[in-house]
């Protein structure tokens, strides 16, 4: 026992040396925390870091593997303790608190003109808080309908395209026609009902969050905000063209039912195609359709993935140079293909690989120009509003426990109380 304790102590001391940090006089070392997790995406990121290191011996980048699971808590603690990575990979809807909290560097004066002009203003708005830019939005995914092509053909329904999408009313009708004994026209995986509903509601003109002349944000549930929730609710409770059982499920949970022909369509994020391509049974034909359009056409909200620089990073110029390298058009395409997502860069979006018909790339790329910042993007207090008010309210509405007036009441009355606390 005593020997074991001694051996352990020595091993632990050996393993416990401090982090490399930044050496004075020597090459600069930057720590890049990536949240890439799919095999191809991790490989693309690591390869790009290797290429950077080969070409920049004076600025060494260390690849650190982060995880989407708990990234907020992990970053918050690292920022508080002054030990955050230099280059931070995250999503724009997670940046508000870090930006306002002074943890991220304002990149306004640091970004090269090429990168600034390559990414459209709409995307930049997702990472702009107050007057500063706190991240570079680089990957995004629209929500699309993944459909069983054989069932669509058999039902003889009009197949929508980005030029001629379904309206929400038409989508409801089609879902009814695709339903039959033991089969639902659509399955809504709404484990995270708020972002899905809000982002799709932009198509019908729903904004939910309204900024007044005094700069304060209030929640107002208009007719445009009701279109998507009412469609889902009626498909589940009135038409029975959508099962109630998937309302609490994640996207992946609906795939076995989709493959088995139990659901004809599943609204999912664009990157789910990777799982579908990998798991679909032999002979299963699927296709990507644009989400239904409303008064605002195919517009929908997105929260792009972002690259930021920690406010404590002593080598911000080098960190931004690394980001600029990662997001060169050809590199952005590699990252997009690895993650099965769309790049934000206009040059990257022209790449032929992203316009191929296979795996629905062309359909997704055609939607890129219609993507807007998610409605709640820069609203302070949004996470609390989402968790405490909106998530339970939408879940209860979709399951039929409450009606539309009660949903509206809760989102506005309770929601505005929460937001007011953040805007005093």
């Amino acid at each position: 026992m005593r020997t074991l304790a001694k051996v352990l102590a020595v091993l632990l001391l050996l393993a416990g040396c401090s982090s490399p940090g930044h050496r004075d006089g020597g090459p600069v070392t930057l720590r890049f925390q990536s949240l890439a997790w799919q095999q191809e995406s991790v490989a693309a990121n690591k390869e790009l870091v290797r290429e950077w290191n080969a070409g920049h011996p004076d600025v060494k980048v260390e690849y650190v593997q982060g995880s989407w699971d708990s990234v907020h808590d992990q970053l918050l603690t690292s920022f508080e303790g002054g030990e955050a990575p230099d280059v931070v990979h995250d999503a724009s809807d997670d940046l508000a608190d870090f930006a306002y909290g002074g943890y991220l560097a304002d990149l306004t004066g640091l970004l090269p003109a090429r990168l600034r002009s390559d990414i459209p203003p709409g995307s930049w708005r997702t990472a702009t808080f107050g007057h500063g830019v706190y991240g570079v939005p680089f990957l995004q995914e629209p929500r699309v309908l993944i459909a069983n092509a054989d069932l669509l053909r058999a039902a003889k329904v009009r197949v929508p395209t980005p030029r001629h999408p379904w309206s929400w009313a038409e989508f409801r009708e089609v879902a009814k026609r695709l339903s039959g004994p033991g089969r639902y026209g659509v399955a809504w995986p709404l484990k995270e009902p708020v972002s899905a509903t809000l982002n799709l509601s932009l198509s019908a003109g729903g904004r939910l969050f309204h900024r007044g002349a005094d700069g304060k944000v209030t929640v107002r549930f208009t007719e445009g905000d009701a279109v998507v929730p009412r469609t889902v609710h009626d498909q589940v409770a009135v038409d029975h063209s959508a099962p109630a059982s998937t309302l609490g499920s994640g996207g992946s949970d609906t795939l076995p039912g989709f493959f088995a022909g139990r659901y004809a369509m599943v609204p999912l994020g664009f990157s789910y195609r990777q799982q579908i391509a990998q798991q679909a049974p032999e002979g299963f034909h699927w296709q990507v359709l644009p989400a239904p359009a409303g008064a605002e056409g195919l517009t929908q909200g997105v929260s792009p993935q972002t690259l930021s620089v920690s406010a404590d990073c002593p080598h911000k110029k080098e960190a931004v140079a690394f980001i600029d390298f990662l997001l060169r058009p050809e590199n952005m395409v590699r990252l997009a293909l690895g993650d099965w997502m769309l790049p934000t860069g206009t040059q990257a979006l022209k790449d032929p690989a992203l316009h191929a018909a296979g795996n629905g790339w062309a359909t997704g790329t055609a939607l890129a120009s219609r993507l807007r910042p998610a409605p709640a993007q820069s609203v302070r207090g949004y996470p609390e509003w989402k968790d405490k008010v909106a998530t339970p309210a939408y879940q209860e509405y979709y399951s039929g426990a409450i009606g539309l007036p009660e949903l509206r009441g809760r989102l506005e009355r309770d929601g505005n109380l929460v937001l007011a606390r953040y805007q005093r």
Binding site: L13, Q65, E80, G81, G251, A260
Partner: protein
């Protein structure tokens, strides 16, 4: 005779059912780990993979430094178990044998200290460890785990010490044994099951812990298994199920092995009948 046999058969059947209930998640993990992506997408999954494959295991090892992470976890878990037991045993003895006001207050504090949630202590703890230059260090993580496991370990061991009759120690003293001799030759052997159980508790706590490891370790080569396992999970909880199941199954094995080794020592009733009550 027949009734006794029937009862015994019933008992075994119940035991088997309970065993299956307990082992179910592990078997399901194994089954998932051996399935191809297509089989994983099936609406009616089979218990036994139709086309068993080790591709998930290979992918898990190719993508993430699982062996390094397992070694880190093992070091941290063993370190925690050894240090926690070394500290808790003498403390528990004093608290069990000297029941003064101080001991009662200490017991109360032990219970209260269990009430603090992780999120409340993580930032101050991070700053303390940073000042001690123990961020991104397995030693720092062991210290945190020991502090975290100590109250419960102490509480557990105090109960075990109380179960060792003081009369046995008194008898040893009457026979001429000194304090140290009594502790080593009489108390320690009787306390062995308690020590083993406490060590196991500390080991499993450290082996499974995720949040502290996530926050305190930065370098990829120092991360522990629970942290590395989350790298198979993407945004919105989407998971690379096959490799995740393969890695998770492998991650449970050392814990099971340690339990199998130690459980023989966790046998109750060693001192039953040692003294007349």
């Amino acid at each position: 005779m027949r009734t006794r046999r029937t009862v015994r058969a019933g008992q075994y059947a119940a035991l088997l059912a309970y065993l299956l209930f307990l082992v179910f998640p592990l078997l399901w993990l194994l089954s998932t780990a051996l399935k191809s992506p297509r089989e994983l997408g099936s609406l009616h999954p089979d218990w036994i993979p139709r086309h068993p494959t080790l591709a998930n295991v290979r992918q898990a090892f190719d993508e993430q430094p699982l062996a390094q992470a397992a070694l880190n976890s093992l070091l941290v878990a063993l370190g925690t178990a050894v240090v926690a037991v070394a500290l808790a045993t003498p403390m528990a003895y004093v608290m069990a044998r000297h029941r003064g006001r101080l001991a009662r207050a200490a017991t109360g504090w032990v219970v209260v200290s269990q009430a603090f949630p992780f999120v409340l202590v993580i930032i101050p703890l991070f700053l303390v460890l940073k000042n001690l230059r123990l961020i991104d260090s397995l030693l720092g993580l062991v210290l945190v785990y020991v502090v975290w496991a100590l109250p419960f370990a102490l509480w557990m061991l105090t109960g075990h010490v109380r179960a060792v009759p003081a009369e046995l120690e008194e008898a040893a003293a009457v026979d001429g044994a000194g304090r140290l001799r009594t502790l080593v030759s009489v108390t320690a052997p009787l306390l062995a099951p308690g020590i083993a159980a406490t060590a196991l508790f500390a080991f499993v706590t450290a082996w499974n812990e995720f949040f502290f490891a996530l926050v305190l370790l930065k370098s990829p080569d120092r991360q522990t298994l629970p942290v590395v396992l989350t790298h198979f999970i993407g945004a919105e909880g989407v998971a690379d199920l096959g490799p995740l199941a393969a890695a998770a199954f492998l991650a449970t094995l050392p814990s099971v092995a340690v339990f199998a080794l130690v459980q023989r020592r966790i046998t109750g009733g060693l001192v039953a009948g040692a003294v007349k009550s």
